[in-house]
C-alpha cells in the first residue's frame, strides 16, 4: 500500500499500521460529512503524523502510483471539500 501526502511525498505503509491509518481516514471523512472543522483538522493532523512516523518514505524517483492520497498538511475542511467537488 502506497500513500501520498499532497505537497509532501509518497510513503510505503507497513501492514500493521494500515488499520490505524484507515481509522483516521474514517474520522476525517465523518468530520467532512458533518462539517466539523475542528474534528477534521485534528484527524488530518493525526493522520499525517501517523504516516510520517510509521511509514517508510519512497525515493523521489520511485515512479509507482499511490493507492491513497492525504490532503495537504494544514488544509481546512472547506479546502478539501472544494478539491473533492472540483474533481478532475
Amino acid at each position: 500500500m502506497i500513500i501520498r501526502i499532497l505537497g509532501d511525498r509518497q510513503y510505503q505503509v507497513p501492514e500493521k499500521d494500515l488499520a490505524e491509518i484507515e481509522r483516521l481516514d474514517q474520522a476525517m471523512t465523518s468530520a467532512l460529512d458533518t462539517g466539523d472543522d475542528a474534528a477534521f483538522s485534528a484527524a488530518l493532523t493525526d493522520l499525517i503524523a501517523k504516516v510520517r512516523s510509521s511509514c517508510d518514505p519512497l525515493p523521489d524517483d520511485d515512479g509507482r502510483t499511490s493507492d491513497m492520497v492525504v490532503p495537504h498538511e494544514g488544509a481546512s475542511l472547506q479546502e478539501v471539500r472544494d478539491m473533492l467537488d472540483a474533481g478532475v
Partner: protein, 281 residues
C-alpha cells in the same frame, strides 16, 4: 468513500490528463520529460510569487507596528496634557491596528508553510527529472530493440502523479496568495482612507494636530500668566497664583487624571475653605 480514496481517484484522473498521449512510446518519454521541465518552471515561478507576497506582508506589518507605537506615545502625551478623550481615541485606534497585526501574523505563518511545501516540491521534481532524464534513454533503447513497452507506462504514470501533486500544491499556494492580496489591499485602503492614520505622514494626523494645538495653547497660557504676574502691583495676587499652582500640582501628584473643570472646582473649594478658616480666626 473515504477522503483518501476519493482524493486518490481525483489525483489519478488528473495525472492521466496531465500527460499528452503519443502514438509512439519513445515519443511519449520525450514529451513527458518536456512536461516535467515545464512543471518545474511553474513551481519555481509560484515560489517567487510566494516570496513576493511574504515580503509585502512583512512591510505592511512594519508599517502597522510603527503606527501602533506612535499612537501609544500619542496617548501618553495626550494624558499628560489632561486630554483623556484624545488619549482614549489614540488607544482605540491602536487596538484596531493590533487586530490587523494579528491577522497579518497568521497569514505570514500560512505563507511560510506554502513556501516550505513548494520548496520541497521543487526539490523532489528536480530529483525526479534528473533520474528520468537518464532512465528514459535506457527505456527508449529497450523499446527500439524489442518493441516491448518495458515499463514505460508505469514510469510515466508515476511522473504524472507527481506533476499533479505539484499542480495542486501550486494551486493552493496561489489561492492563499489571492486571499492575502485581498486583505493586504483592504489594509492599504484603511491606511490611505485615514481610518488608520498613514505612518508616512502624507495624510494629516488629526491626533497629532490636537496634541500640537494643546501644547501651543498651554504655552500661550503660560506666557499670559507670566505677563499678568509682571503687571499685577500687589503681592497678594501672586500668593494666590502660587497657591493655585501648588493645588494643581498636588492633584497631579496624587496620580488622579485632572481635567480643567476639576482644577477649577478644586480651586474654588480651596478659596472658600481659606475664607472660612479666615472667618473663624
Amino acid at each position: 468513500m473515504s477522503v483518501m480514496k476519493r482524493l486518490s481517484g481525483i489525483v489519478q484522473a488528473k495525472a492521466n490528463k496531465a500527460l499528452d498521449k503519443a502514438e509512439n512510446p519513445a515519443d511519449m518519454l520525450d514529451l513527458t520529460y518536456e512536461k516535467q521541465l515545464e512543471n518545474l518552471q511553474k513551481v519555481r515561478r509560484a515560489l517567487a510569487d510566494v516570496a513576493t507576497a511574504k515580503k509585502r506582508l512583512e512591510l505592511q506589518a512594519n508599517d502597522l507596528q510603527s503606527q501602533a507605537d506612535k499612537l501609544q506615545s500619542q496617548a501618553k502625551q495626550a494624558l499628560a496634557q489632561g486630554q483623556e478623550d484624545l488619549a482614549r481615541e489614540a488607544l482605540t485606534r491602536r487596538s484596531a491596528i493590533g487586530e490587523q497585526l494579528e491577522g497579518l501574523g497568521t497569514q505570514h505563518q500560512q505563507v511560510e508553510a506554502q513556501e516550505a511545501q513548494l520548496t520541497q516540491t521543487s526539490q523532489r521534481l528536480s530529483a525526479q527529472i534528473e533520474s528520468f532524464r537518464t532512465k528514459k534513454e535506457t527505456m527508449k533503447a529497450t523499446y527500439q530493440a524489442s518493441k516491448a513497452e518495458a515499463g514505460i507506462g508505469e514510469a510515466v504514470s508515476g511522473i504524472g502523479e507527481s506533476m499533479t501533486d505539484a499542480g495542486m500544491t501550486m494551486q493552493r499556494a496561489q489561492d492563499k496568495i489571492a486571499q492575502m492580496q485581498a486583505r493586504a489591499g483592504a489594509v492599504d485602503e484603511l491606511l490611505t482612507s485615514g481610518a488608520l492614520p498613514d505612518v508616512t505622514g502624507s495624510t494629516p494626523d488629526d491626533i497629532q494636530a490636537q496634541l500640537n494645538a494643546a501644547s501651543a495653547q498651554s504655552e500661550v497660557d503660560a506666557q499670559l500668566a507670566a505677563m499678568k504676574a509682571e503687571l499685577s502691583p500687589g503681592g497678594d495676587q501672586q500668593a494666590i497664583g502660587a497657591g493655585q499652582s501648588a493645588g494643581a500640582e498636588s492633584a497631579a501628584g496624587s496620580g488622579a487624571v485632572t481635567t480643567e473643570d476639576d482644577v477649577a472646582e478644586a480651586t474654588i473649594a480651596d478659596t472658600s475653605g481659606g475664607n472660612g478658616s479666615g472667618g473663624q480666626s
